[in-house]
Amino acid sequence: MTDAVERGATCPVAPRGWPNPLLPEYDQLPEGRPLTQVTMPSGSKAWLVAQHDHIQRLLADDRFSVEPHPTFPIRFPAPQELLDMIARDAKNLLVTMDPPRHTRVRQMALPDFTIKAVEKLRPRVQELVDEYLDRMEAEGGPVDLVQALALPLPAQVICELAGIPESERDTFTRNAAIMVGTRHSYTMDEKLAANEELMKYFATLVTEKQDNPTDDMLGNFISRAGRTDEFDHHGLTLMTKMLLLAGYEFIVNRIALGIQALLDHPEQLAALRADTPGLMPKTVDEVLRYFSLVDEIIARVALADVEIDGVTIKEGEGILVLKGLGDRDPAKYSDPDTFDIHRDARDHLAFGYGVHQCLGQHVARLMLELCLTSLIHRFPELHLVESDEPIELVDGLPPVHKLTVGW
């Protein structure tokens, strides 16, 4: 425990380099990864949660809150004005709302994210994947798969979900790419400018949808929200930003990393080519498990004393959920550091757990499935040419990396 508190003094879970998802500090967690108390930069107390079982139990426990709270664990020394801004915006974001409001707002978006609703997107997403692969083939290899497919495809899919017209897509894709960061890191000023341009654009988009409702994910959400008094115009603009950008970087990385993992494991790739319908669902879950990154940390604050395995998490204390470690927990998965598409990884934590589990997860699964399937069948000789050196992280997010492939 002393050791843990010491580490806490220098911010316990500062984001670190790519691509090793298991960071040296976490290997120093005590044997068995018990709940470990740390001190946040603000001086408040929080617990590192690294066991798969603990993560599931605590994230499904409604005595923890995502809403701003004076002792909510924030991983960097934040000035008061930033905290005030976060608290203001938090009122309008699904990810920082507790039930029952969270339940009401999630259900405004949910009908467009069901499996059946997402399955309706399949032909169009396949068509888009085919177009990107046609272009790759026409240009000839080697190509950077991130720029050729992983980055542009999700942007186009998101634009279709939002009903963004072709003529306006450039505004979205250009700024969204800056905000998630590509292999050329952008400065904070460039990111702030991109954010400002996007917010201005989303504000216009919200007004357009309010005036002329459209039958797409965003249009339907805005129509449903309009029948309640949950959001004002600025709130809808913030929710639009969250709905359209929350999963963007996540899926870009998984498409690239998924294909890299398969290329690194030729026997598994051969098995997958031979039985794609049988093995692809498992492959998708294993890619999600294996690349569940520690940098995507889930934070909560306790609203009451919570007992777990003989430890009391006191009211007001935080938890920092290291889902990347949970997804590599040897008590849960045998040989957890091995990529294995034959294992049952359906209970991975990549999309989180509890009521805030990723709303767009089926869209992400669909893109990952179609990209992997199309790439491995279209290019039987697909191979890795080079991948990037580790890159410095910007704002705590793992960067989109470069992945050059030939065929």
Partner: protein, 61 residues
């Protein structure tokens, strides 16, 4: 089945489509409340490990 707890993640319908479905609102519905042994075993796994909101309750009856 606790539809008040259900958050519509859809993992039951994804992993055991012969037993569970999502209605148009996205919430869980049971298609088959007397599943085969294999389906019941899968439902058990869903309830214990996969359903993120603990909305699935298994009863022996």
């Amino acid at each position: 089945m606790d539809r008040d707890r259900c958050i519509g993640a859809g993992l039951c319908a994804l992993n055991a489509p012969s037993v569970f479905d999502q209605d148009d609102a996205g919430l869980v519905v049971v298609l088959n409340d007397s599943p085969s042994d294999a389906e019941a075993a899968d439902a058990q796994k869903l309830a214990e490990d996969i359903c993120p909101s603990k909305a699935i309750l298994i009863s022996d009856g």
